[in-house]
Structures are given as structure tokens and as C-alpha cells.
Amino acid sequence: MPDDNNGDDGSVPSGERDASPESRADGGEVTDGGHAVREELPAGDEHGHDFPSMGTVKRWLVTTNHKDVGILYTVTSLFFLVFGGLLALLFRLELTTASGSFLTGTAYNQAVTAHGLLMVFFFLSPFAFGFANYFVPLQLGAKDLAFPRLNALSYWLYLLAGGLFGLSFLQGSTFAGGWTMYAPLNLPMYLPEGVGSTTAVMAMIMFVISVTVSSVNFLTTMHRMRAEGMRIRDMPLFSMSILLTVWMMLFAFAALLAALIILASDHILGTTYFAATEGGSLLWAHLFWFFGHPEVYIVFFPALGMMAEVFQTFTGRRIVGRKWFIAAMTLVALQSFVVWMHHMFLTSINLEIKTLFMATTIGISLPFDLMVFALIYTMIKGRIRFTTPFLFAFGALLLFIVGGITGVFLGAVVLDYEFRGTYWVVAHFHYVMVGGAMAMFGALYYWYPKMTGKMYDEFLGKAHFALSFVGFNLLYFPQFVAWETPRRVYNYQPEFVTWHQLSTVGAFVFGLSFLLMFYNFYKSYHHGEDAGDAPWKYASSAEWAIPSPPSLENFPGVPSYKGGSLSFLSEEEVHGAAAADGGPAHGHATGDAHAGGHDDHASYWPLLSSVAVFVLFVGLAGTNGGGTVYTATAALGGLALLGTAAGWVVESFHVSEPELASRWPFDGVENTKLGVWIFLASDVVVFGAFVGSYIFIRVAEGWQNWHHLLPADHVVLPGLINTYLLLASSFSIVLAMVAAEKKSRAGVVAGLVTTLVLGIGFLINKGIEWSHFFHIHSEHFPEGWTFGTNVASSTFYLTTGMHGLHVTLGLLVLLWMIPRAWRGAYTSTEDGDKPLEYFGLYWHFVDIVWLFLFPLFYIL
């Protein structure tokens, strides 16, 4: 919602670095090679933005431009690579002896845990999304992502989530329960003292929020802003891999979000989900791995896409079996949600389920065979140039083959029985994940010239490859040999000590090789040769058809593939085409006559809101056990968040939707509406996970036993009243929409006010009910029936509380909308009622959720 058009444009010259004349001249290739036409940038490109230049600090604080955000992501993720890498070197040093020396007990556990969390969450995915931010819009032919401010918000949330995680080290101890955070070791009673562990959990929640915002943004962009003539399947493979990744992220991270919220609630409110002896442990394992297995592909797919891109360019051959490659990836993405229990073969699950999950696991490995062969066959008849990017991609494929084969071992259940919890697993997943990271380093060399305009030093690049590849294998291969070492121990069988020492030597070779990379990029940025538009022969995607680095608006015209290959259309051609295409029906969301070039690129609000969330989370983490300072901090953060949220809506921030684009299958909706839909889809999974957890715990407890855990006063009536209130409010919001259609200002206001009143009634009713339960003094519940009384109270309060939070957020939005409605915002212009429609969607969703919760928590 925040990004819809409500503003005018300034006209201050931008400080954007323009493409140098030389690089423009180089761009002639496009015209030679295809039908592309390079036009001089229209003069209008120079204005429209009150936008500081790249040399200023301010630029980087306010930017919402996808390329800037991409660079921020890349740099930040490399910082976390170093952070996580140093931790790894630390415990690799510890492992040079077979018994504990300098890093033992909880300290070791913290280092290992933080290493895993930082590498998987704060390095791998954000590194991939640095490229995704920068290059997906370019490959699609879009000017930016659909919601630029939300994109900046994702970044700042990510950065500050990392900051929060760093902070947790200073609060006594960070989380020490492994990156898989198994229950009940993930609860305060088993973790080191202090609020650090809770802070780390909050940091993870903040990170997941960032991911969700980003997923919505990418999905909307990729489905609605592709250049004319580019079908989904025509996207370059890198973009394709990102699309699938983002779909997986949307659902997988929603499950993780639910799991983390429950965990945070166990920490902060004292609910007893994961402490529940009956099923608490397994509940976490299910929730975590439902997320965790797709996560494996989430971190690997982008690398695969980059490998495909680099292979195509440097072999000079189109990817063999490209459509099968895509089909295989899609299959994997779908199947990734039905293999999670292969992480639980040694739990008490029965043979039938083991069989099923063994089958799905092997099933999911097969499409990867196809992809590997496709890449290998692409080399045939190629003209392979062994540049640094290709070496990395080639090396990554090799490592992936080793990782894949050793993974098949794990799929054979009987072998997994023995490998589980050992260095076999550690070696295997590093071959896959760090292998993927190798491909991404290749991609960094590949795209560096585009991002900076400078060529890197080829010799140093190759040296980096050689050292890191040797270091990698020296680091991880011995771990296969010494596989009987248990994971996460500093005290292991002495016969393996030599292998571990070798591994540590490898770790240092691997780690130090990155100094070459950083030096290379630093030096080349200042003294490198100009790269030109298209330094790589046979590169085909659109980013190579524009200057390096691209201008702020990306393209010299409107990109189109209508003629079979890339061309840039002028404004007039676009208007002609759009009219022929069914007219402004598509482009109308902006309601803006010159929808061309005057988008905004600067806002402070993403940063400020993220800071507010940071403060809020620091406070929340300490409210249980940290003292009143924390509570006050939380309150401050909450207020700041409300304040900045208002800032978003008040700020005038103009974003245009492309007039001409391929939008299958979402032609009929505008970006914001699609964004709301996608967001709600992930919210469905969040609630699904909550309801699923409730059912899981209740079944473990005994479905009927449950009634003994409820107070006698837990009756149907309050729930029933609330059901009526919400149903009525759904009706009144529809009335408001109808009134808006009829341009009746009073009708809109009346509808919204009624909704507000009903919503408040819902909350009051709930408040009375809760406060009654809290103060019960019955025989069974002498101390009241509160969050932590038992599993029934925990699930009741948390699930309906999450729903209540949704209601509250809706009411806040209503409070904002009512005065606007009064001033005629939704009735005075043609498309003015859109925000009402988006709000209506959300509100109906919240009501529907209640219709599920009511029977589950009040009747059954």
C-alpha cells in the first residue's frame, strides 16, 4: 500500500553518474547484433529526483534504487561472510586438538551456532539477493522493483537484524543451541543466562520479516513488470532461479516465522509450546525442517542460476535442454516442501513414513542430475574461455557433484542412521552450500564490471580461484575421511586429529584467499581499466546492452522483446503500442499522464522504520528478565514504529507502473493489489503453522484430554459474539466500498466508522475474556489461567493473540483512513478507492482466519 502514487514530482537535477561517452560508443554492438536500437537518453532523464550523488553518505541512507540497494546487500553480506568466517577459523583452531583447549563448553557452542546462522541467513541469501536486486530488474527490463521503498526497508531490516544479532554477543551470551535450534534446548532454562539468546531469536524474526517483504516485492515485480514479449519462461536463467527461490521463500520463511514467533513467545511470555514433554521437541523439528529443507534450495538455486548464466556466456553455447532445466528446477521447488522428514529419520516416525520420505528425497535428487548434465553438455562445441567467473562456476559444479553424490548416501536411510550428527553431514552440506557460494563469487567477478564500470584484475582473480579451490578441498575433504567425528564437539576421537589438522590448514588457505579478492576489487575500482558495456563476448541478457554502470533509469527507452530480441522503444511508440494493446487499462494505476521518467528514489522512512523495529526488538527481548529499561525501550520503539509508519503514508513518493509489460498471469490486477495478495498468501502459511502446531500438540496430549486443561469458564459465548462482530465488520467494509463506487463520501465514512467500532468491540470483548481467565481462582487453576499455565492456555493465547494483533493493525490503518475518507480521498478521483479495496482484502482475510480459529479454540 505505501508505495502507491500520491505525489508530485520535484525537478532537481540528479547527481547520478551518467554513462561515459566511451561506454556509450561501445554499446553499438546491440545494434549490430540484433534489432536493438540505442537512443540518446531523453533530456527528461536528468531531472525528477532530489537525489544525492553516489559519493555522499546521504545517498546510501535514503536510496531506494534497486541497483544501490543491490550494492548495499552485496557489501553487507560480505561483511557477514567475514564475521562468520572468523568464527569458523576460531573453532577450526580449537579443533586442531582432539580435546578441549581454549574454546570449550558454551563458548564453543555459541561460535558454532553463530557461524551457522550468520553464514546461512546473513551471508548466503543476502549475497544472492544483492545480485537479484541489481540484475533481476535489468534482465526483465524494469526500471526498478515494484515497491522501491519496501526494497530499501528489506535491506535496512536485514542490516539491523544483523546488528541485533551482533548485540546478542554482548548480552552475556548469544544463542548457543545450534543453527537448527532444536527444542527444548532453545528455551531459556537450558540456554546460558542472560537476554542474549532471546535477542538472537528476535534478530532472526527481524531477518525473516525482511525476507518476507522482499519476497512480496520480487514476486510482484517479476510477475508484472517484465518487458513486453518476455514470457515467464523467457527470463534468463538467473532471473528464473530467483523467481523460484522467491516463491519458496515466501512459504518456507512463513513457517519459520511462525516457529520463531512461538519460540520468542516461549522466551518472553512464558508460553510452554516447546517445553511440552508431549511433542514439543518434535513440533520444533517439524516446523524447522518444513522451512529448513526448502531453505537448502533457497540458498542454492540462485547459485545454480548464476552458474547457468556464466556457463552460457563463457562456453558461448546456449544452455542444453534449457526448458528441461527450468522444468527440473520448478519440480524441485515444489517437491522441496515434501521432503522435510528426511531430517528426522532417527526420531520415532514409523517405517511407512520413512519409506515415503526416502522416496520423495530420492525423487528430488533426480532433477539435479538433469541440471548437472545440462551444464556439462553445454560445454560441448563451445568456445570455452577460462576467465575467473568461469573457473569459479566450473569449480562450483565440480564441488556440487561431490556434494550431490555424498547426499545420495544420506538419502539411503540405513546409511543416514550412521551419518546423522557426524562430520559426514558437515562435509556434505559444505560441499553443497559453500560450493554454491563459490558459484556466487564467480558471479561477483562476472558482474563486477557491470556494477562498477571497471574490469577486475584477471591474474589476481585466477589466483583467488586456485587458492580457494585448493583450500576448500583441503578444508572439507578430510572431514569425509574423519566422518565419525560427532558434529558440534571440541572433544573427539584422537585417531582423527590429523585429518582435522589438515582441515584447519585448508580453512586458513581458503579464508586467506579472500584477501586477494578484496584487494582485487579495491584496486580495480580505483585503477582498473574501463570495462565497456559488454566486456563478455556471447553474454546475451539485457544488462549487457546498457552502459556500465547503468544509468539511474536503467534503459535508454522502454525495453521490448516484441520483435524477438531486445529493442528500446521511444515514448511515442509505447503509447501507440499500449493503445493497441487494449489501452490504458494496464497502465492506469499511476493515473499519471507522463508515467515515464519522474519516479522518486529517495526516502528516509525505510531506514527510520527499521531503526524503530530494532529498538522495539531490543526492548522486547529483555522484557522478561532484563528489567524495566528494556520495557521502556520496547515502548519507545513501538511508538517510533507508529510514528515512522505515518511517515510512509504522508511522504509523497511516486512510482510508476510500466505502461507496456508482460504480466501473465496477473494482467488484471495492479501491483499493489498483487502485493497484498502475495503477502496474504504467506500469512496463510503463518496461520497454518500456528493452527498446525495447535493440532499437533493437542493430538500429542490426547485430543479429549485437552478439556482438563481448560478452565470451566472457557465457554463458547465470547467467541460467538466475536464471530458475529467480525462478520458484521466484513459486511460494513463492503458497504464502504460500494459507497466509494457511488462516490458517496458520507457512505464511505459511515462504513469505515462502523468497521472500526465493530473491530474495537471485538478487542474489548476479547480483553474482558482474557482478563477474566487471568484472574480465575478455581480448584484446578488457583493462580489463574495465564500464558504459561499449560499447553492449552499457551496455544489459546498465542494463536488468538496473533489474530488479535492482525485486527489491531487493521484498526490502526482504519484510524488513518477515516479522516482521509472524510476529506474525500477515496471518492474524488477515478481510482481513489483502490486503497479501500486493498484494505478490504486484508480485513476479509482476518475475518476468515477467525472463522477457523473459533471452532478450533471454542467448540471442539
Partner: protein, 284 residues
């Protein structure tokens, strides 16, 4: 196709091919088969990859010459992505790899069935009666409870004594957090989950040998040191020792913490399929 796979599966799971015996024997068989085949496949695929990379390296001929001689169209800047042909070869190698993987797994599945069911019904030992032991992990040690109620605790230095050549069935659980009980030398491993019981078995073959049991799931500060000694005795020796333990009253080791009442002593019988016969007489 699916018919072939089905036959393949039946063949692979026929008795002759499935290794039997103790878990060490079973594991060794399957591990080596996987290792050899895996290495073979790896070497072939990686070798082929390197070969192609070398063969098709760019030797600096001009584009025109090269395109002439190799008859390929190169990607062009600005084109809509397309595939590069060669689909048949792709499918052939894909099918081949699928067959290898599926048959390996089908075979491994036969072994799983043996481990989970076959061995359970007819233990591969002369001594038919299995010894049932409850294993309970806690922060940080292992408690072993024998059918007669005798309990030993690794934290006070007791070893877990088992008879040779007799099947030992473990019922593994935890008193606090998630642990994982494993004896790498005997190739047995099982999750120890609070509130859950998991079953595994093993057979130790060499009397006089000691093995180390370890924890394979991170469980807190003492995870690294959560070991127990497994002492294999000849059946006679073990029997003598065992008979001496019979009438002991259980000394609850309350030195180790329990986290506020999660372990309210659900009887083992609730969870086991067949209730354990605590009065079981054991004959050598």
C-alpha cells in the same frame, strides 16, 4: 519403464543380495557399495567434464571459422533466451543416472526393511531372546536400565555392560533436551527425545572389547563430553554380573537436574508395543 523398475526392485531386494548379520556387517556392506559406486560415478562424471572443458577450450580462432567448423549458433546480445539442443543425449544420461540411483536406493531399502523388521523378527544370533535396555539421556550423561530394574549411569563412571552375540534392543529417551545416542563402533544410533521412545538394536560380537557411546545431537555445554563406555562381555560373564544385580533397589540419581517435572514417570509400558517383562528370566 515402471515395470522394469518394479522388477529391478524385486530382484534387488531378494534375499541373496541383502546383507544380513549385525549392524556392523550390514553397514559395511552398504557403505562400501555406495562408496565404490559413488566414487566411480564421481570420477566418470568429473572426468568427462574436465575432458570437455579441455577439448572445447577457446583456442583463439575467429568466430567465423569456429562457427563454420562446429556448426553452432552462438548466443547474441539481446536475444530472448533459447535452449541449445542436445536434448536426447541429456535424457539418455539422465535416465542412466536415474536407474543407478533408484536401484541403489531400492537395494538400500531392502536393507532398511531388514534392519527395521527382518532382524526384529528373527535375530541373526543363536541366542533368540533379545536383551531390552532402556537408555535415557540427560544433561550430561546416559542412564541404562536393565529388565530387572538395575540402572547404571555413565556420569558416575559405570559402564554399559552387554553380552556378546546377543541382540540388544534399545529404548531410547531423554529426561531433558534432545540428545542422540550412538555407538559408532557398533553402528547403532538413535534420537533421544523427551517424551518419546525410539527403538534400535545392535549385536556386539567381540567379548572383551570396549566401545564408546557418544551424543550426536547438540545438547548444551557438556555435549562434547557426553560419552559412555560400552563393555562387551562373554555371555557367561555377563550373566554372572547380571545375576548379581537383581535385587537392588533403584538408586535414583537425583544429582542430575530434571527440569521441573517434565518427567512424571510415564511407565515404559505405555509406549512400548509389547510391555517389557521385567521378571524375565534369562538363560544363557
Amino acid at each position: 519403464m515402471s515395470g522394469t523398475i518394479a522388477t529391478l526392485v524385486t530382484v534387488l531386494q531378494s534375499d541373496g543380495i541383502i546383507p544380513r548379520g549385525s549392524r556392523v556387517e550390514v553397514f559395511d556392506a552398504i557403505y562400501w557399495v555406495f562408496l565404490v559406486l559413488g566414487a566411480l560415478v564421481g570420477i566418470v562424471v568429473i572426468g568427462y567434464m574436465l575432458y570437455n572443458a579441455y577439448k572445447y577450450r577457446d583456442v583463439g580462432e575467429t568466430d567465423e571459422d569456429a562457427a563454420e567448423s562446429k556448426k553452432v549458433e552462438r548466443p547474441k546480445l539481446g536475444e530472448l533466451p533459447r535452449g541449445g539442443g542436445g536434448g536426447r543425449k541429456l535424457f539418455l544420461s539422465f535416465t542412466l543416472s536415474a536407474i543407478i540411483v533408484i536401484s541403489l536406493i531400492a537395494w538400500a531399502y531392502g536393507i532398511l526393511l531388514y534392519v527395521e523388521e527382518g532382524a526384529a523378527e528373527e535375530p541373526p544370533t543363536e541366542q533368540a531372546e533379545a536383551l531390552e535396555v532402556q537408555v535415557e539421556g540427560y544433561q550430561f550423561g546416559w542412564r541404562f536400565t536393565y529388565p530387572n530394574g538395575h540402572t547404571v549411569d555413565s556420569a558416575v563412571g559405570d559402564s554399559f555392560k552387554v553380552p556378546a552375540d546377543r541382540m540388544v534392543r534399545l529404548n531410547v529417551t531423554s529426561a531433558d533436551v534432545f540428545h542422540n545416542f550412538g555407538i559408532p563402533g557398533l553402528r547403532v544410533k538413535s534420537d533421544a527425545i523427551p517424551g518419546q521412545y525410539t527403538q534400535q538394536w545392535f549385536i556386539a560380537e567381540d567379548p572383551g572389547t570396549n566401545y564408546t557411546a557418544r551424543c550426536y545431537e547438540l545438547c548444551g555445554a557438556g555435549h562434547s563430553d557426553m560419552t559412555a563406555t560400552v563393555e562387551v562381555m562373554s555371555q557367561e560373564e555377563w550373566q554372572n554380573w547380571y545375576e548379581g544385580t537383581g535385587n537392588e533397589t533403584e538408586t535414583g540419581d537425583d544429582g542430575n537436574q530434571s527440569d521441573g517435572g517434565d518427567d512424571d514417570g510415564h511407565a515404559l509400558e505405555d509406549v512400548l508395543e509389547e510391555p517389557v517383562d521385567y521378571g524375565m528370566e534369562v538363560h544363557a
